[in-house]
């Protein structure tokens, strides 16, 4: 059993990185993830870790250095937020296309403009198509636990893709909560030694990374990448099972909360799910069959399993803390795809909430569930997509 401490989300992630002791970290500070690398830099200068810390001039350079270090054969980690991730965008694709298992903490923050430092998911959702494995975390404990699992999933020999672990900026990154740490030796045994696939530093076996690939081969490489990230679904479950053995904490592709017989379901990601679960309980106490699904693995998205878990719901409300302007929110599109592919046709509404760190209050969840109850009665939804918690 590990020690229990009151700690912020950022401290929890920095502690996880310390226990992983990666070969290289290249990072550039950006709120609200700054504290992760700031604390990790102290571990480096105190000699607690052996990591080569590369301080660079931008996030584009941070990810570029991570790519170089990973191709060289190192276990590599970094952290960022918002504009930082946006600036990395070009290199995110390259890390994935070169099949480099870099692990990154993404402390979710709104994108400019207008500039805002608080938590929403527009950064993570904006990198949805970069072929990074994405794991979302409700709280500090989940972020801490997910970091170790992300390293294992990314480095799995049948996958070899980068992975990001997401948690809400400020709401989780800067809030203190009680969580349990794993002993160092448990972490060491769980993550194991990193075995690089084609290390550039193996001078006896020289290789070339990053060649030009023309129309005669490009699509074959992308198909291989697609198959690799698909395999991450099973590996995520296998790794979670192993993690449960060493930690006692159980993880899946998503969390089902009182969904078994639910006629009304809500889908909520990250910290807001904690608030919404309380509201679900209140409705259950009144005899209303409502449940919640909190996605964890967003890429690859577990369509069949999600559709199965939401199978009994006639009405679904999907909360998005990011917008795809001119379209539905990104989570809604995934849930809609899952339901359509499964052949079921619940009434589905999309509610955009909490952008730029606007608080998500129990009343917000309550209002949407009340609306869903009405829709369940009438079978009709008047507005499919709408913003909530916004002043007129």
């Amino acid at each position: 059993m590990g020690k229990k401490l009151a700690i912020t989300g950022n401290q929890a992630v920095a502690e996880a990185m310390k226990q992983i002791n990666p070969d290289v970290c290249a990072a550039y500070p950006i709120t609200p993830s700054t504290e992760i690398m700031q604390r990790f830099a102290s571990f480096v200068s105190d000699g607690v870790v052996d990591t080569e810390l590369v301080t660079v001039e931008s996030e584009h350079s941070a990810m570029s250095a991570c790519i170089g270090a990973s191709a060289a054969g190192g276990r590599v980690m970094t952290a960022t937020s918002s504009q930082g991730l946006a600036l990395m965008w070009e290199m995110l694709h390259i890390a994935a296309g070169m099949r480099l298992p870099i692990a990154m903490a993404l402390v979710n923050r709104a994108l400019s403009a207008p500039i805002n430092i608080h938590g929403d998911h527009s950064d993570g959702m904006g990198s949805r198509d970069c072929s990074w494995i994405q794991i979302y975390s409700e709280n500090a404990q989940e972020a801490y636990d997910n970091i170790f699992q992300a390293v294992r999933i990314a480095e799995h020999e049948e996958i070899r893709l980068p992975a990001m672990v997401c948690m809400d900026g400020f709401i989780i990154s800067h809030s203190i909560e009680s969580m349990e740490f794993l002993p160092d030796e448990v972490v060491r045994d769980f993550i194991g030694e990193f075995k690089p696939t084609n290390p550039l530093l193996d001078v006896d076996k020289p290789v070339t990374y990053g060649p030009l690939v023309l129309p005669d081969y490009y699509i074959e490489f992308k198909k291989a990448q697609h198959e690799a990230i698909k395999r991450a679904k099973k590996v995520t479950l296998d790794v979670a099972k192993e993690f449960e053995k060493v930690s006692g904490r159980s993880y899946g592709l998503f969390e089902s909360y009182r969904l078994d017989d639910a006629e009304i379901a809500i889908v909520v990601l990250n910290s807001a799910a904690g608030t919404a679960k309380d509201v679900v309980d209140a409705f259950r106490d009144k005899g209303i069959k409502v449940g919640l699904l909190k996605p964890r693995l967003f890429r690859p998205f577990p369509y069949e399993e999600v559709a199965d878990a939401l199978g009994s719901a006639r009405v679904i409300g999907v909360f998005d803390r990011a917008d795809s302007f001119g379209g539905f929110g990104p989570m809604y599109m995934e849930i809609a795809s899952a339901m359509i592919a499964s052949g079921s046709s619940p009434v589905m509404i999309n509610r955009i909430y909490g952008l730029g760190g606007r608080d998500f209050m129990p009343e917000d969840a309550e209002a949407v569930i009340k609306e869903l109850v009405e829709i369940a009665d009438t079978g009709k939804a008047t507005t499919l997509k709408e913003y909530i918690g916004v002043r007129e």
Partner: protein, 97 residues
């Protein structure tokens, strides 16, 4: 040559074989062809050092003719060539002429 299927490819488009650019003939890309005028050559081997495609053949420390299967006609060799008494040992001529 039979093209490989997606399952047969090296992960991440890594090329595991060093120096395999020799198997890829790029000479057809050329718009201008370097021509070697041996009478003006002082065997300084600047062309050999500067050639980005290893297309200047050298044996026993003396340069021979160009490897036209791989020379893309960039003209760096002609630019660097000091020649003899102001006469270049490498000149670029348009392909097809």
């Amino acid at each position: 040559m039979k093209l490989k299927g997606w399952k047969e490819l090296e992960m991440g488009a890594v090329i595991p074989e060093a120096g395999n650019a020799a198997q890829y003939n790029t000479g057809s890309w050329r718009a201008f062809r370097p021509q070697w005028k041996e009478e003006n050559c002082i065997q300084c081997l600047f062309c050999w050092i500067y050639c980005p495609d290893s297309s200047v053949t050298v044996s026993d420390g003396k340069r021979g003719d160009f490897d036209y299967e791989h020379c893309k006609g960039c003209g760096v060799c002609a630019h660097e060539c000091p020649g003899k008494k102001g006469n270049k040992a490498i000149v670029m001529v348009e392909e097809g002429n």
